[in-house]
């Protein structure tokens, strides 16, 4: 049996007396498009932060493609790309260098890296802005740059934390098409979103978290049945 892309086992993350993630367990298989849904404060971003190493795990374990994120952190981190919800670009670099330096942090450099940066800029229609600082970009362009940066080191696992928040419908649909292409190429994708139609359109399987616990974990079609995802979501997360 091959290793799961993500295997989370009884993950607990506490901040003092507050438990943000309370014993979550689930696995995401390689090549799967997985939706992690939940209301604000449910523990989605904390779970993502624990996966990528931005949050220290209180108890439990996480492994990525068989690599424990704490014991075998270097191999684990090399497999994952994160497109965070908040823009956190380096303000001293231009857009092309943001991509090239990102690859550098992953131990990559040279002509192949520069070519990949140019390809991604082209793919996301950012080539004309390559020498500009990110603050000159529109919201939609920043969103595209976030995705391009996450893809620079060609991760096997891509985590998208609300990738279409604040973008117009046209760009959202464009991003959906791109994500479908990535999935078809074999990339495992984890998506958090508040746009339930987005999860319905893209995800093979959906996990819903509420108050730090998984309250549903099903294939999308099975979860929805003959209702809408919104009805299911509201029923499961009503506090």
């Amino acid at each position: 049996m091959s290793d799961a892309a993500i295997r989370i086992d009884r993950l607990v993350k506490s901040y003092g007396d507050f438990t943000a993630v309370d014993g979550i367990s689930f696995a995401v298989e390689p090549g799967e498009f997985f939706g992690l849904l939940g209301p604000n404060g449910a523990g989605k971003t904390t779970t993502i932060n624990a996966i990528v190493g931005l949050a220290k795990i209180t108890s439990g374990s996480i492994s990525l493609f068989g690599h424990d994120v704490e014991r075998d952190w270097r191999a684990a981190r090399a497999t994952v790309g994160l497109a965070p919800q908040e823009y956190n670009f380096d303000r001293y670099l231009n857009i092309r260098d943001i991509l090239i330096y990102q690859a550098g942090y992953y131990g990559l450099r040279g002509a192949a890296v520069r070519r990949r940066a140019d390809d991604l800029l082209e793919r996301f229609d950012l080539s004309s802005k390559a020498r500009q600082p990110y603050i000159r970009l529109s919201g939609g362009m920043k969103r595209r740059l976030t995705l391009a940066r996450a893809l620079m080191h060609q991760p096997r696992l891509l985590i998208l934390d609300e990738p279409t928040a604040g973008v117009d419908v046209e760009l959202r649909i464009e991003l959906w098409e791109f994500l479908k292409e990535l999935k078809a190429a074999g990339t495992t994708i984890v998506l958090t979103t508040h746009y339930l139609e987005e999860a319905e359109e893209l995800c093979d399987r959906i996990g819903i978290v509420e108050a730090g616990k998984v309250v549903a974990l099903e294939r999308t079609a099975a979860l929805i049945g003959n209702r809408s995802l919104q009805d299911v979501f509201l029923e499961l997360t009503r506090r």
Partner: protein, 253 residues
């Protein structure tokens, strides 16, 4: 070891330094020129020699230390704090980079910055007061230790700070006063005996005195003692910076 990752951090810090050249390069140059003209040339005409060298020559090593200390601490603290504040440091935190690689990246870039600033002021000293170090090995050794110490302190305070104001606290209340009373402008021998003994406990005095050795060939304190103190402080600051970064203090919540 992720060598390319480490090199990328160093390169990024150099890019940052030149992006804010009006904060990093020109202030030390202009301030040094002012000190040379006001103190070295103006006051120096009244003070013929100190410890056998002209006052202007006496002044140069102190001015180099003053700027190196200020710039290495200021740059690493503000870069680290800004990275935390803007979350851009997360680019490094999620990458396969260890705490050693991250800290080494910031320390090496601090060292390069120190060498650059010291070189500029050394050139100014040569051009305006015809003063050059006699012992380049000692010159580089003290620069290395001081740059490591203050780059590491910059990382520590960049992690501790909750706002930019906190970073300035160390500069305003500790570094600047200790540098100014640490023999930048006058010899320790000019002080009353009691103050001379107290000055022995000022680490800045030992940094400046050891560095001045490289110019004058002698100093107020034994060179070995000064080097040992500066080396021990640099090692201690480095260990603390490494431990804080490795533990994810205010980096990994």
């Amino acid at each position: 070891m992720n060598w390319i990752g480490l090199q990328t951090i160093v390169k990024r810090e150099i890019v940052r330094s030149f992006a804010i050249i009006n904060q990093v390069v020109w202030p030390p140059v202009i301030t040094t020129l002012l000190y040379i003209f006001v103190f070295g040339v103006g006051l120096g005409s009244q003070i013929k020699t100190i410890d056998g060298v002209s006052y202007a020559t006496f002044l140069i090593p102190g001015l180099i230390m003053l700027q190196v200390i200020d710039q290495t601490y200021g740059e690493s603290s503000s870069s680290f704090f800004q990275g935390r504040f803007m979350n851009s440091i997360q680019e490094m935190l999620i990458a396969p980079l260890s705490a050693v690689e991250m800290v080494a990246g910031f320390i090496i870039s601090g060292l390069l910055r120190a060498l650059f600033i010291a070189a500029l002021i050394t050139i100014i000293g040569f051009l305006f007061v015809h003063s050059l170090p006699q012992n380049w090995g000692l010159y580089l050794l003290v620069l290395f230790l001081v740059a490591v110490l203050f780059s590491a302190l910059g990382i520590i305070f960049g992690l501790l700070a909750e706002k930019f104001d906190h970073i300035a606290t160390l500069t305003t209340f500790v570094i600047t006063p200790l540098v100014f009373v640490g023999g930048t402008f006058t010899s320790n021998a000019f002080l009353p005996p009691l103050l001379q003994r107290i000055a022995q406990f000022n680490p800045m005095f030992h940094m400046i005195d050891a560095f001045r050795y490289s110019y004058a060939g002698h100093g107020d304190a034994p060179l070995g003692l000064s080097l040992a103190i500066v080396g021990a402080l640099a090692a201690a600051a480095l260990v603390v910076a490494l431990r804080m970064t490795a533990s994810g203090y205010k980096l990994r919540v």
